[in-house]
Each structure stands twice: as C-alpha cells, then as structure tokens.
C-alpha cells in the first residue's frame, strides 16, 4: 500500500514537472507560431522535423492574435519563427522592432513581389506565398434568385445583393483589412468610403475570421463571400458549387510572410527554418494541404487549381504605407465610425 502511494505520488510529481517550462528541453528545438490553416501548419512542421531533426513546437493562431502574443512577450520572447499569415501584421511587427533582419541565401530565387516586400520591411520579413483578394458566389443560390453573375466590385452594391454579402470585420481579420486598403487604393479614399457604405447595406454579417465567408458561400449561408481567392478554391475543390471572381476593376493581394522574432532563443535553427521554408520542396507542401496560394519561390510548382495572377488584374499594392500601424489605425477608426456604425 505504502509503496503504491509513493509510486502514485512520484507519478503525480513527474506529471507536474512535465508541465513546467522546458524541463525536458533537448538540443535542437524551434518554436514556430503558425498563422495559416492547421492542415498546412502540421505537414510543414513534420517535413521540417524530418529534414533537419530539429524538434518543432508549433502553435496555430490567426495573424492578429500572433502579433498580439509577440507584442506581449516582447520582453521575454517564447517563439522563434512566425510563419505564415497575411503580410500586414508582419510589416507591423517589423515596424515595431519585434522581428530581426535576416537575408536568406535563397532571396535570389524569389519572385519580384516577394523581394520588393522584403526590401520594404528592411528584410525583417520575407514573402512565402501570395494570394489575390476577390469573392466567390454560390451558383445554385444565384440561379434560384435569377441574379446576373457579378463580375466587379461595383456589382456587389446592387440592391439585389441586399443582405447577401459576407465579409470579415477588418478589426479582427487581416483579409478584411486588405479589402479596406484595396478599395481605398483603387478608388481614392473618399469614393472608397462611399462604396463601403453602400456595401455595408448589403452585408449580412461581419465575421471574425477572414476565411469564414468562403465557407458560408460554399454552404449557401450567404450568396457572396469576400475572401482571398485561394480560400474559395479550397471550398471549390472540396466540391462546393461556387464560382470565383477576380473583380474587373482590379484587386489587391496579400503576401503571406515569415519573420524571425527578436530575441529568438533558437536563432540558428530559426534561420535554418527560414532557408528551408523558402525552398521549392517546402513550398510544394501547400498544394498538398489544399492551400492554393502562389508560392514565392520561382522554382516551386504552382498548384493547377491556384488562381493565376496573370488572369487577375492586380493593383500596385503599397505594403509599406497601408501596412503601417498609423495608417491602419486611422483607416480602421474611420471605418468603425462611418461604415460599421451606419444604418443598414
């Protein structure tokens, strides 16, 4: 009896000790904050573990949440690499000096847009994929209502789409902020807010997560969902009856990025990870995980389902300006005041 109790106590103490930070931390560790979907995060980390033998601890959180966490941990960072997620928060982190400069030897293999963004961030972040903004609509729902298929941003403010458009809240989602910044760059600020107010009347719900409207359009919960097009492709590949639209006026895009966190405890491993993540092999994993973004390495295979940039009219997105915290807060405050608070 006594020995059993001692054993139980020891087991309990051991279990408790296992919860304490790093009590069993081996050499060759890396902590990655992952901001793309779970299905992509996991095989990426597993592949890196297999390629290098470095053990990865990964948390998946949205890019906004991750930025918050990195800020909160700034005096005592716990993460090493922040991989994935739309570029703006990465730019913001670079601006706030939360991430460190690193020029990977693979920079020369990247597409121009990726290199340009890295330069704008003083090489504190680097692009790993790109995706264009757009929307998807549910075909049976559209036919049932006998509405003409939309092709442009302007179509979405038509009265027949009243209560039928879904988009995320730019306060919580980087996708929706990209929409805000895109419309402003496309139309100029005053006409942009007129447009957004008109759109607001047709929006049935501002979701919290950026990709949620694609899912809602796929199930028919909404007629139109504004998201990055690759999110809609994922739904379409899964068999949902949706059509994708790259709006005729032109559209913005995101550069999914990757940064090394300032004060990373495993800096060398973090650099190894960055080099590896820019390689064509690592960038091919996305397509297997049903992520249909455009990889940043010129040699990486482009998934056949991915929306081609050639087919979409892209604007010359100024990441440095619209990614800065000051512009962002100003735009968001104005959106809150003039659009969100307006009557439907």
């Amino acid at each position: 009896m006594t020995s059993r109790r001692v054993f139980a106590a020891a087991l309990f103490a051991g279990a408790l000790a296992a919860l304490v930070p790093g009590s069993a931390r081996a050499q060759g560790q890396l902590t990655v904050y992952c901001s793309v979907q779970e299905e992509w995060c996991r095989p990426m980390m597993a592949a890196f573990e297999r390629a290098t033998g470095i053990r990865v601890a990964m948390t998946r959180k949205s890019s906004g949440e991750t930025l918050t966490q990195i800020r909160a941990e700034a005096t005592n960072p716990r993460g090493d690499v922040w991989w994935g997620g739309t570029g703006d928060p990465h730019m913001q982190a670079a601006e706030e000096n939360l991430t460190v400069e690193y020029r990977s030897p693979r920079l020369s293999e990247l597409h121009d847009w990726a290199v340009r963004q890295a330069q704008q961030a003083n090489f504190r972040t680097v692009g790993i994929y790109a995706g264009a903004l757009g929307y998807s609509y549910n075909v049976p729902e559209l036919q049932r209502r006998r509405i003409e298929a939309p092709r442009c941003w302007a179509d979405l403010t038509k009265p027949e789409f009243r209560g039928e458009v879904q988009v995320a809240d730019p306060n919580t989602s980087g996708t929706a902020y990209t929409l805000l910044a895109t419309i402003v760059q496309l139309m100029g600020e005053e006409p942009a807010f007129t447009y957004l107010k008109a759109l607001h009347r047709n929006v049935n719900q501002y979701t919290r997560s950026g990709a949620a409207p694609a899912r809602a359009a796929a199930t028919g919960e909404t007629l139109v969902g504004i998201t990055f097009l690759h999110d809609a492709v994922t739904q379409k590949v899964n068999g949902a009856p949706v059509e994708l639209v790259g709006p005729c006026e032109g559209t913005g895009y995101e550069i999914g990025s990757m940064s090394i966190i300032r004060g990373a405890r495993n800096l060398d491993n973090a650099k190894r990870f960055v080099d590896w993540a820019l390689s064509p092999e690592a960038q091919a994993i996305g397509a297997e995980a049903k992520a249909y973004q455009l990889p940043s390495n010129r040699n990486a295979p482009i998934p056949p389902q991915a929306p081609r940039f050639e087919a979409i009219k892209l604007i010359d997105y100024d990441f440095a300006r619209w990614g800065s915290a000051a512009e962002r807060n100003r735009l968001l405050a104005r959106w809150d005041r003039e659009v969100r608070a307006a009557a439907r």
Partner: protein, 726 residues
C-alpha cells in the same frame, strides 16, 4: 502538531529551497542544474550574482538558533516569515527581466540589474516562510494554538490572495492605465464608452451597446431556462411518470458537452441552408433566413446548455418541500390548483431565484455560443476576447469591459441575497414528516408535459446531429456520405519506429487529460481542507477567507483569463506559456465547488465525532485524517469528478492561456470552428463527450450515484452546480 515542530520543518523546507533546486525558473529547466542559469541560490550568491538576495539566508540564519533550543519564539518567527515573503516579492517587482523596474532601487543595484522569474527554489523558500509565519502565530496562541490549522489558514489565504485577488487588482489597474501612465480620464471614458451603453437599437436600426445585449440575453436565458427547468422538475418529482433515466441522461449530457458544440448542431439544423430551414422552405414555402445568427440562436444554444442545470436545482427544491403543508391545505378544502398556487409556488421561490441566478450568471460568462452563433450580436465575453486578440490590441479596453462584466455578475448575486435574505423558507424541520406529495393539478401537468417533451425531443435531435456529423463528409453542406476521414485527421496513429501519434488532435487531447487529471485532485484536496477549516475551526478572518474562496465562482471565465495573462506574464511570477498556469487556473476556478460540497457534507457529520477524537487526545491532523476524511469520501469523489469534467470543457478562461506546447482540446475545437471545419470539430467533440461520459459513469459506479451538479443538497440557496461554460 506543535508550533515548534512546524517551525523546524518549515526552516528545513526553506533551507532546502536555498540549497538545492534552481532559484530562478529559466527556460532551460533543470538541464544545466546545478550550474549555469539553473543554479540554486547559494551558488548564485557564491558566484557573486543576485547579491540583493543576501537578506534571505540571513533572515533564515537569524531564526535558526532559537529553533534548535526548545522554545518557539512566536514574535520572532512571525517577523522572520513575513520578512522573507516580503523580501522575495519586493525584490522581484523591483528588479525584473528588462532591468530595474522601480527607479527607487536603481541607486542601489544599478539601472540594468536583471533577473528572470522565480523558480522552484523560491517556491520552496516561500512555503517555508509561510510555515514559519504560521508557527509563529500558533506559538502566540492564535488558531487555538494549533500549528497545523495555522499553517493551513496561512497557506490557503496566501494562495487565494495570489491567484484570485491579485489578478483582479491587476485588471483593475490595467483599466486605469493608458500609455503606461495612470489616467483616471481614460478609465471613465472606457467605462462610459458608447460601445457598452449605446441605446441606438431602441431608436433606430443600429445595434445596442454590449452591456444591454449581454443583459438582455442573460435575463432571457435566466427566465426561460428556469421555466423549462421547472416544467421538468415538476414532472419528475410530482407526476407519476417513470422517466428518471431519460431525465438524468438529459441532465448529464449538457454537463459533459463542450459549450459551443450545441451551436454547431443548431447551424446544421437552422442555418440558412440548414436541414429544417430547407425542409420548411421546400414544403411550406417559408423563405430561408439567417435568424439563427444573433440573439435567437445564442439564446437557443444557451437554453439547451443551461436548462438541465436549472432542472437539477429545481428538482431538489421541489422534493424538499414538506408535503404536510400541502396536505394541510388540501385537508382544509383547497383545490389542487389553489394548493399549488398558494403553498407550493411560494415555497419554491428560493429555488427559482437560485435557478434564475445560475442561468443568468452562466449566460453572462458564456463565450463559445456567442462566438459561433452571435453574428453581429456582440456580448461582453466576446468583445473582451477580441479587444485582447483582435487586430486592434487594447488591453485597457478589455480590462474595463471585464470589470463591467464582473460588476453585472456581482450585482446579480447581491440582488439575490437582498431579495431572499429577509424571508424564511424552512419546511424541513427536526420533526418527522410522513406526508405524501400531492400530485400536480391536471392542467399544470399537461402544460408541463407540453413544454418538456418537445424540448426533450429537440435536445435528442441536437445531440443526434452531433454524433451523425462526425461520421459524414460534410454535414454543413448536406454531403451525407459515410466517412472515417475526420477521425483519421484528428486521431491518426502510425507505426514508425514505435507508436507515433500523427493525428492533429492528439497533442491537445493529451494535454487536456493531463491538466484535468492533475488539477482535479488538487481542487478536491484544497477544497475539502478549506471546507473543513471554514466549517469546523473558528479563527479571526474566517468570513474573509470564505469570501475569498467563493469569490472565483462569481468571476466570469473571460475575466479570469484576461486577469491571468496580465498578472502572470512578467517576473517575478511568470507562468504564461506553461502548463502550470492551466492547472492553477482550473484549481482556483473550480475551488468553490469543492468548498461548497465539503461544507455541505460536513454539515451532516456531527461534531461529537470530532470531539470524541479530541477527547481521546487526537490533534487536528489525526481527527482530519482518521475521522473526517473517510466520512467525506463521497464529497471528495464528487469534487474530483466535477473538477475533472469542468477542466475538460472550459473555454472562456483558458483560451487566453494556452500556448504552443500546452494547447487544450476545447480551444483547438474553437479554432476549427473559426476556420469553418465543423465536421472535424464535431468529431473531436464527440470523442471528448465519450471520454467524459466514461469518467462520469465510472465514478457513478464507484459511489453508486453521480454527484455531479448535486453538490448543494443543504439548500437550494447555495450557488448551485456550475455547468460547463467557464
């Protein structure tokens, strides 16, 4: 236990803390021990580092000689213990990780002295210091001179201050700080913000402030869940129906369901392309709408989750009404309905108030359902979350909203106390009562049945959808082909040089079970000890201790989560990112249940047993171990089961506290829902439900009857079974 032996043990503990474990809690853990950054304090001091810690060994040395003699000098022990505790915390706050925090200390230690957070060495020293303090108090005659009681009171008070009170103070101060400065103007502005109080929905088509939204939702949930629960309770206790099993299943299922799972099922049923919506539209031509997203949907989900708790509470209340009163009324010629209206109903009031309060408070703190079904309808819990985790990070605003939420909860408790405090509802007296409960008036029975049975069927359908959704391709889109795919994604196992858990859910599942299994015995143990202190010992400050122990019942989980990340993110107490903070969070969240259960059980054990033990020369320890604890076994097991289940289903507090290495199942599922992977979320939830069902049924077998939710048999007045949100 004598004061002297406690003091000696405490001194040994403190000395070991100085000599052996690492003083600081570096991230490298024990790997470099005993050298490097994991060195114990003596080595640090010998190397000439952290010289501001020299007073600690000196304090211990000062009280050592007296303890080697035969007398415990009370005054000196109190001084030593208090000084050591004070010094550890003062230097910890003064010198932090980024450098000297308090400018007052800069002239002495330099501006750039740094130190990481406290580790196990410091923990042992603090425990020892608390022991010295307690021994000193006991030697001076406090706590009846019993050193064991003194130690328990000091220790639990210290823990409660540290993990319940201090975080609350932190959040209060965070609400008043803007740009690093104290700004009362900002505090007022945040409290009075239109986002909280706007009344625009009355005058126009805009949304109202979150406070009004929250209040409206909570009131509706409270009233409706009480009425539904009452219908079930009256049927169960007073109608001649043999439905005990079905009722109990209905009552237990929501207790072991992660709170937002119900919402998923509601979307599948009533979403714009939901099954019921499609059917209605096809058969009756009712236009398909999005009514479920917003107040109606959240209300429905909360009713499904909280009605069973109201039922459990009210069933107890109905059964406790002494039938002789009703018999007396009917003997005097009153008709059955008159009896019900004039006797039964008034006597049910405390039960009704308790059930309403519970539904109200649970709705206030519910986070999962508004997150999934809220649409544009925001409540405080979700608004707080996005103030912290959204793109515009604003902890001050989150803190202010959290305080508003806390204010609403405490206000509800205060109202209840004020309303019930002045009346007496005792019907169970010492005299025997052999009456037979009057059956329900016919009309009332029909009305109850008309409400209760459809609701039961509805609940059954909702759960059937959950179980079904896990096995089909995509229930949200109506793709009903059978598949194991979701289980494979979540729980895949591979044989690759040993067993490899490849599935996406394994990590969080293991952590969840581990955290729940560790926190449950700690909760039960601390809760029962506290109950024993509060019920059987008298000491100054007993009421205060009770208030502190019960306080966390009234704090919504979201508030706890926010306050924990604010309070424990920086040295000297740095716990964020560890699994320990999850354990601590669960222990102090669920503590009130253990305490209440313990007090209720102790009330049934006559004091003469304690006195007999004391007469025979048994001290407090012996009495507790030999007499009380064996008699409290059912209460202990109930507390264990409750805290285990609750630790597995909680979301709102821990969503702020999880980290890369320590993720929890519920938080993982919320993430899946956010990403629209409803099927995976449902599959994982069904596994969680099965695990908890196994645990609950196992305990049921062990003690003969599941005690979950029945922890307040002493009267319906007590804060009752705390259900699954948090």
């Amino acid at each position: 236990m004598g004061a002297l032996s406690l003091a000696r043990a405490a001194l040994v503990c403190a000395a070991l803390g100085l000599l052996i474990p690492p003083w600081y809690g570096p991230d490298s853990g024990f790997t470099t021990w005993p050298a490097g950054e994991a060195a114990p304090l003596v080595l640090l001091l010998a190397r000439g580092e952290a010289w501001w810690l020299w007073p600690l060994p000196l304090i211990l040395l000062a009280c050592a000689p007296a303890l080697l003699g035969r007398r415990a000098e009370g005054r000196m022990l109190v001084a030593c213990g208090a000084a050591a505790i004070a010094w550890v915390f003062l230097q910890g706050w003064a010198i932090g990780l980024p450098g000297t925090v308090w400018s007052i200390a800069a002239p002495f230690v330099g501006a750039d002295a740094t130190q990481p957070a406290l580790g196990w060495g410091a923990t042992a020293l603090l425990t020892g210091a608390a022991g010295l303090l307690a021994a000193g108090l006991a030697a001076r005659g406090r706590f009846g001179g019993d050193a064991f009681v003194a130690f328990l009171v000091t220790g639990s008070a210290a823990l409660l201050i540290l993990f319940v009170f201090a975080p609350l103070l932190t959040i209060l101060s965070a609400a008043a700080i803007e740009d690093g400065k104290i700004a009362p103007g900002a505090l007022v502005g945040r409290f009075a913000a239109p986002e909280a109080w706007s009344l625009a929905c009355v005058t126009g088509s805009l949304g109202c402030g979150v406070v009004w939204n929250t209040l409206a939702l909570a009131t509706l949930t409270g009233v409706l869940s009480t009425l539904l629960g009452l219908a079930f309770a009256l049927l169960a206790a007073r109608a001649k129906l043999h439905l005990g099993g079905a009722f109990r299943a209905l009552a237990i299922l929501p207790l072991i369901t992660p709170p937002f799972v119900v919402s998923l099922s509601l979307i599948v049923l009533f979403g714009r392309t939901g099954m019921v919506t499609e059917a209605l539209s096809a058969l009756l031509g009712i236009p398909r709408s999005r009514w479920i997203y917003g107040l109606p949907g959240v209300l429905l989900a909360q009713l499904l989750a909280f009605t069973p708790i109201a039922y459990l509470l009210l069933e107890g209340a109905v059964r406790q009404i002494a039938p002789s009163l009703e018999e007396a009324a009917s003997t005097m010629g009153a008709r059955r309905f008159t009896v019900f209206r004039t006797v039964t109903w008034p006597l049910l009031r405390p039960g009704l108030a308790a059930a309403f309060l519970l539904g109200f408070v649970e709705s206030l703190s519910d986070f999962g359902n508004p997150l999934v079904l809220g649409g544009d309808f925001d409540v405080l819990a979700t608004r707080i979350f996005f103030a912290i985790a959204g793109a515009r990070h604003d902890p001050g605003r989150a803190a202010a909203l959290a305080l508003l939420l806390l204010g609403l909860t405490l206000g509800a408790f205060a109202l209840q106390t004020a309303w019930l405090g002045r009346r007496r509802y005792v019907t169970v007296t010492g005299k025997g009562d052999a009456g037979v409960p009057t059956p329900l008036p016919r009309g009332l029975a029909i009305a109850c049945g008309a409400v209760a049975f459809p609701w039961m069927a509805f609940t059954a359908i909702v759960y059937a959808i959950i179980m079904l959704g896990a096995f089909v391709h995509d229930i949200g889109r109506g793709d009903m082909t059978f598949t194991w795919r979701h289980y494979v994604t979540a729980f895949e196992v591979e044989w690759f040089q040993g067993l490899v858990f490849r599935g996406a859910a394994w990590d969080s599942l293991f952590t969840t079970i581990e955290v729940a299994a560790i926190s449950a015995p700690l909760t039960a143990g601390l809760g029962i000890l506290l109950a024993w202190l509060l019920a059987r010992q008298s000491f100054p400050g007993r009421r205060t201790l009770e208030f502190m122990a019960m306080l966390s019942f009234a704090i919504p989980g979201t508030v706890v989560g926010v306050s924990y990340i604010m309070a424990f993110n920086v040295p000297p107490l740095e716990l964020t990112g560890t699994g320990l903070i999850l354990v601590i969070c669960f222990v102090f969240r669920n503590l009130p249940v253990g305490v209440r259960g313990g007090i209720a059980a102790l009330a049934q054990i006559d004091r003469s047993l304690d006195e007999a033990s004391a007469t025979m020369g048994g001290g407090a320890v012996a009495t507790l171990r030999r007499v009380i604890l064996p008699l409290l076994r059912p209460a202990i097991i109930a507390a264990l089961a409750y805290s285990f289940v609750h630790a597995m289903t909680a979301v709102s507090a821990v969503i702020f506290l999880v980290s890369a290495r320590h993720n929890l199942a519920t938080v993982y599922i919320v993430g899946r829902v956010e990403a629209g992977e409803i099927a995976l979320a449902i599959a994982y939830s069904s596994v969680l439900i099965l695990i908890m069902l196994a645990v609950v049924l196992g305990i049921d077998k062990l003690v003969g009857r599941a005690q979950i939710g029945r922890r307040a048999p002493a009267g319906a007045m007590q804060p009752a079974p705390v259900p699954v949100t948090a």
